[in-house]
Structures are given as structure tokens and as C-alpha cells.
């Protein structure tokens, strides 16, 4: 009898074009494709030059999240090129100005447990939060997938991460993934899949799972997938999915390259110092650093629970006069929910500013980028040198709660949680 298979092995096997092919690299069919203005614009000319057709416009989600709305004429041209292409190809889910593509993916029933999804951006991996094997690729790969509905893929070994215990109330999925980055490093899961087994009590929330899956790519992961369970099923039901879920589960005797048990009860808030998301310490051991910018945004966070936690922290208080606190909800749906819940009012009263749902300054592109002397605390996923703006600027990564606390205090401090 052959050894048990991991979740990821089962998903790849079930998508193989030729099930008999046992080669290292295999052709697989995809269930959905995700793209945004910046990276899809790069393939438009080549796609047209080759006179290709989109394999299935109903399975494609496109949005303009990098330039939304565009700030320069050049970006407007890029955006228009992308939008014209999407309309001409009758892309069914063209979601103009609706938010960050990764958030729109997980808001869509196309992002199903057991699905195989590719996207033209590294954080596509976030689909793993609902049990999809989703992964980011470059424009050439995406062009090929868009035209054929297939891609080439190596079946990765998996690392099993088991969460146990109870997540402390001042921690979130962000602190969990930062801790995993501390433990595994920037290449700890290179060419590997991370399979998350949630045995926590209570189980992690769906938003926490998205935060964890999103940054699995920062550990080098190809997939960062939660084994589907009742949290997944509830999320899909609330999303309005009509199709029943394929209940793919890893075999009990699946072979994992290694297993990491994480006792969440022992976790404390974490921060990644410049210039690596793996340069992580407990906030209680962080340096005392005056801040000029706080950013609650990006696909890594900026979901409703993040905005709620930030609102809790700033309620009845004022943001430090030395700090610009920029909030960008991950999608218009999230923004709308936050409006209804009153969080936008609370944060605005405290001095935060809201921008249109988009990638914002996370990739150093849109409003809120950092100057040479800026020191930022951010809920985004990368604090690489120069990524958010000037080469001399500095970015610390933390949870939404920590970002909001630091914005009020005006500095990152080892005493951030001592009150």
C-alpha cells in the first residue's frame, strides 16, 4: 500500500492532466486565475501578438489594485491597458476599484477548499486560508495559464504546522505568522508547502488564517494551506457558496518533511524589525523607536477584525501628533462592513486617515510612501529595504492592534502592552 498523501499531494494529483505521469514536474489544470493591473498589463501585448484566447473567462478574477485610482498619467495608461484587455476578453469577475485582488479572491466562491489557483502576484497564496492550493507566479507563467487553463508544477514536500492551546486576546494571526517567520526564517519553507492543522481551542478565526496564509510566502512557501474544517465551511456558507465543498483531507499517515507544534497559549505580540520579515522579536524585547507613520493596510491585514482591533485600541484616544496613521481596508466590502460597525468613525475621530481600498504604500507605489527619515509600523507583509519608499526609511511589521497602540503612543516600545 502506498504511503498516505498530504493535503497538497491530493490536490495536485486530482488536477494532473495525465494521472499516470509520475515525473517531478507535471502539467496540472487550474480552477481559477487571479490578476491585477500591474502584472497583467505586462502580458497584454504578448497575449494579443500571439492571438490567444482566455481559456475560461468565468474563472478569472481581475482587479486594478496597484493603481486605484491612478496617481500619474503613466499609471492611468497602464490601468487603462489592463481594463481594456479585461473587457475585451469578457473577464467575468473584473472588479474595478473593489479592493486588493487577494482579498477579492477569498471573497469569491471560486476560492474553494481543494481548488488549485494561480495568480499574478506572490500573495495569491492567501487562498490557502480557505483550503485552496493557491500560489503566485510571474506574468509569463500567468499568460500561459490564462491561455491554456494549465500550468507546470512540482509536487512540493509539506511541512506540517499544528496549532494548539489558546491564542491570547492581545495576539492575532499576524503574531502567529511572525513567530513562524522567526522560527523558520525567510527560506524555511522554500519550494515547500505549509499545511496548517488547527487544533487550537477555540479554533483560529478565518481572518487570523488569512493573515497566516498570506505571509507563508515570506517563509518561501509555495502553498500555505489550512486543512479545511468547520471554520472553513462556515466561512464558505456565509459567503453564499451554493456548490457543496469537496471534503479533501490529508491522510492520517501522510508523510510530512517535518512537523512543528505551536502552543499558542505561550505567544506574545511580535514585531519584525527592518529589513526582513523574519527579523522578529517579542515586542517586550523591541527597541524604543519614535515613529512617524503607522499603516494599517495591505492584503496581509486590513480585514474587519484588524480594523475592529485598531478601533478598540484608539477609542476615546488621539493618535500621536507626530504620527500619520493611514488605514486602507483590504476591500470595499471590508470598508463597508467597518462603516456599518462604526469602526471608521472611531478611527477617524482618533485622527486616522482612510484611503481607497488598494495596495497603497505597501509596495512603495501609491499614497502613503515613506521618505528618508520616516519610521513606520505596518501591518503589511514585507519590510525589505526601500520597499515602502526611500532606501533609508525603516519599516517594522506588527499586528493591527500593535500598530494602533504604537500610533497612539507615538513610538514602538517594549512597554507597548504594559498598561
Amino acid at each position: 500500500m502506498s504511503p498516505g498523501r498530504t493535503f497538497v499531494e491530493k490536490v495536485i494529483d486530482s488536477h494532473a492532466l495525465d494521472p499516470a505521469d509520475e515525473g517531478l514536474y507535471r502539467r496540472v489544470r487550474i480552477d481559477a486565475l487571479l490578476g491585477h493591473d500591474a502584472t497583467i498589463a505586462l502580458l497584454v501585448d504578448e497575449f494579443e501578438r500571439r492571438n490567444l484566447k482566455v481559456w475560461d473567462p468565468d474563472r478569472v478574477i481581475f482587479t486594478n489594485d496597484h493603481f486605484s485610482p491612478p496617481a500619474t498619467a503613466e499609471r492611468a495608461d497602464i490601468s487603462n491597458k489592463f481594463l481594456c484587455f479585461a473587457r475585451a476578453k469578457k473577464i467575468r469577475h473584473l472588479m474595478m476599484d473593489r479592493g486588493i485582488c487577494h482579498q477579492l479572491l477569498v471573497e469569491s466562491p471560486l476560492c474553494r477548499p481543494g481548488a488549485l489557483i494561480v495568480g499574478a502576484d506572490s500573495h495569491t497564496i492567501m487562498g490557502g486560508g480557505v483550503g485552496a492550493c493557491a500560489t503566485g507566479m510571474g506574468s509569463t507563467d500567468i499568460l500561459f495559464a490564462l491561455a491554456t487553463g494549465t500550468t507546470w508544477m512540482r509536487k512540493p514536500p509539506s511541512i506540517q504546522i499544528v496549532f494548539r492551546g489558546t491564542l491570547p486576546t492581545n495576539c492575532s494571526g499576524r503574531d502567529i505568522i511572525l513567530e513562524l517567520l522567526r522560527l523558520l526564517g525567510e527560506a524555511g519553507a522554500q519550494y515547500r508547502a505549509l499545511e496548517f492543522w488547527d487544533r487550537a481551542e477555540p479554533k483560529l478565526s478565518q481572518d487570523d488564517r488569512f493573515a497566516i496564509s498570506n505571509m507563508a510566502v515570506e517563509i518561501g512557501g509555495k502553498f500555505g494551506v489550512f486543512v479545511p474544517d468547520e471554520v472553513t465551511r462556515t466561512y464558505c456558507a456565509n459567503r453564499g457558496d451554493v456548490q457543496p465543498i469537496d471534503d479533501v483531507q490529508p491522510d492520517p499517515d501522510a508523510e510530512y518533511e517535518r512537523t512543528l507544534e505551536i502552543d499558542l497559549s505561550k505567544l506574545t505580540p511580535r514585531v519584525a524589525k527592518p529589513w526582513s520579515p523574519a527579523n522578529v522579536v517579542p515586542i517586550s524585547e523591541a527597541p524604543e523607536v519614535p515613529l512617524t507613520v503607522a499603516f494599517l493596510g495591505s492584503c496581509s491585514s486590513a480585514r474587519l477584525s484588524d480594523i475592529r482591533e485598531a478601533a478598540e485600541e484608539v477609542a476615546g484616544k488621539q493618535i500621536s501628533p507626530n504620527v500619520r496613521f493611514v488605514v486602507i481596508p483590504a476591500s470595499v466590502q471590508v470598508f463597508s462592513d467597518a462603516l456599518r460597525a462604526g469602526y471608521v468613525q472611531t478611527l477617524t475621530d482618533a485622527g486616522a486617515v482612510f484611503n481607497q481600498s488598494s495596495c497603497g504604500p505597501c509596495g512603495g507605489i501609491d499614497k502613503g510612501v515613506l521618505g528618508a527619515t520616516d519610521v513606520c509600523i505596518s501591518t503589511s507583509n514585507r519590510n525589505f529595504r526601500g520597499r515602502m519608499g526611500h532606501w533609508e526609511s525603516q519599516t517594522y511589521l506588527a499586528s493591527a492592534r500593535s500598530v494602533a497602540r504604537a500610533a497612539v503612543l507615538g513610538r514602538l516600545s517594549p512597554e507597548l502592552y504594559e498598561d
Binding site: M137, G138, T140, D141, A147, G220, G363
Partner: protein, 160 residues
């Protein structure tokens, strides 16, 4: 494939795509994309690149974003090949799909035998890197599937 010949540019571990090609140089204009290569790390690198030059990296070369402008810039600057201890997954795919050979050392410690500016000869057939003193460094052969894509001239040539 022919032998690739050029001078060595040596980098450390975890060289990410935001450093390889800063996002502010994201553009559809080839001149701007070409000029952005390593611009924030050291603006003197790009103007001094010559066709066929070889980048030498450590662990996790090309980690981070999937934006293919990083790859486009390397191609526009006519980088001949990249040799590293290992590569980040998306970067390796992008390079392979665009026909830019990425090879890894058989023995990671051999990276230290290469100095910046060394004239290197990379024999893809033999998976061997030759140093200026004619000594050789063994690389891992890329495997049949990867060579098939290189030989086709990139992934898109396989669309038929």
C-alpha cells in the same frame, strides 16, 4: 547551449526582488525598467553591466514579489546567467520561463571561490563554471524539463 562568458557580480543571501528592481521603476517603458536594476542598492551597478555578465548569489536568491519587471530588467540588461546557492521559487520559474539560466552550486562553499569582477565561463552543457585561473566549479545539472524550456526559448514558445 553555448558557453556564457562574462564578469561576476557577487551578492549575499536573500537578495529580494524589491532590491533587484525597486518598485518605483515599475513601468512599461523598457528604458526605465532597464535603468532600475539594483538602483537603490548601488546606482553604479547597472551602467557598468555588460552582456553576458553573471550574477552570483547566496541562499534564496530572488525572494519576494512576483513582479516580472525584475526579470525583464535582468533580460534587458542582457545578464547571461545567475549562479546561486539556491533560488526562491517564483523567481526561478520566472527566469526559466524567460530563458535566463539559473543554476545552483553542487557544493555551496564554492561560492566563496568567486570574487567580484572575475571573468567567468559558464558551460551549460557540462554544468560547470570556469574561474579565471581555469579551475572549475561543479554546478547541479538543471534537469530535462528545465532544459526543454530553455531550448524552446522560454515557456511561451511551447504554446505552439
Amino acid at each position: 547551449m553555448h558557453v556564457i562568458s562574462g564578469k561576476a557580480w557577487v551578492f549575499g543571501d536573500n537578495l529580494n526582488t524589491d532590491v533587484i528592481h525597486p518598485p518605483e521603476f515599475f513601468s512599461l517603458d523598457p528604458d526605465r525598467v532597464r535603468a532600475g536594476l539594483f538602483h537603490k542598492l548601488d546606482p553604479q551597478i547597472q551602467p557598468n553591466l555588460e552582456p553576458g555578465d553573471v550574477l552570483v548569489g547566496g541562499h534564496n536568491f530572488g525572494c519576494g514579489s512576483s513582479r516580472e519587471t525584475s526579470m525583464r530588467s535582468l533580460k534587458l540588461n542582457q545578464i547571461g546567467a545567475i549562479v546561486a546557492i539556491d533560488f526562491a521559487r517564483i523567481f526561478f520559474r520566472n527566469a526559466t520561463n524567460n530563458g535566463l539560466p539559473c543554476l545552483v552550486f553542487r557544493n555551496a562553499a564554492d561560492k566563496e571561490r568567486i570574487s567580484a569582477g572575475d571573468r567567468l565561463n559558464l558551460d551549460i552543457e557540462r554544468a560547470v563554471l570556469q574561474l579565471p585561473d581555469a579551475s572549475e566549479i561543479a554546478l547541479e545539472p538543471p534537469g530535462a524539463f528545465i532544459r526543454q524550456i530553455w531550448e524552446a526559448g522560454g515557456l511561451l514558445s511551447m504554446l505552439g
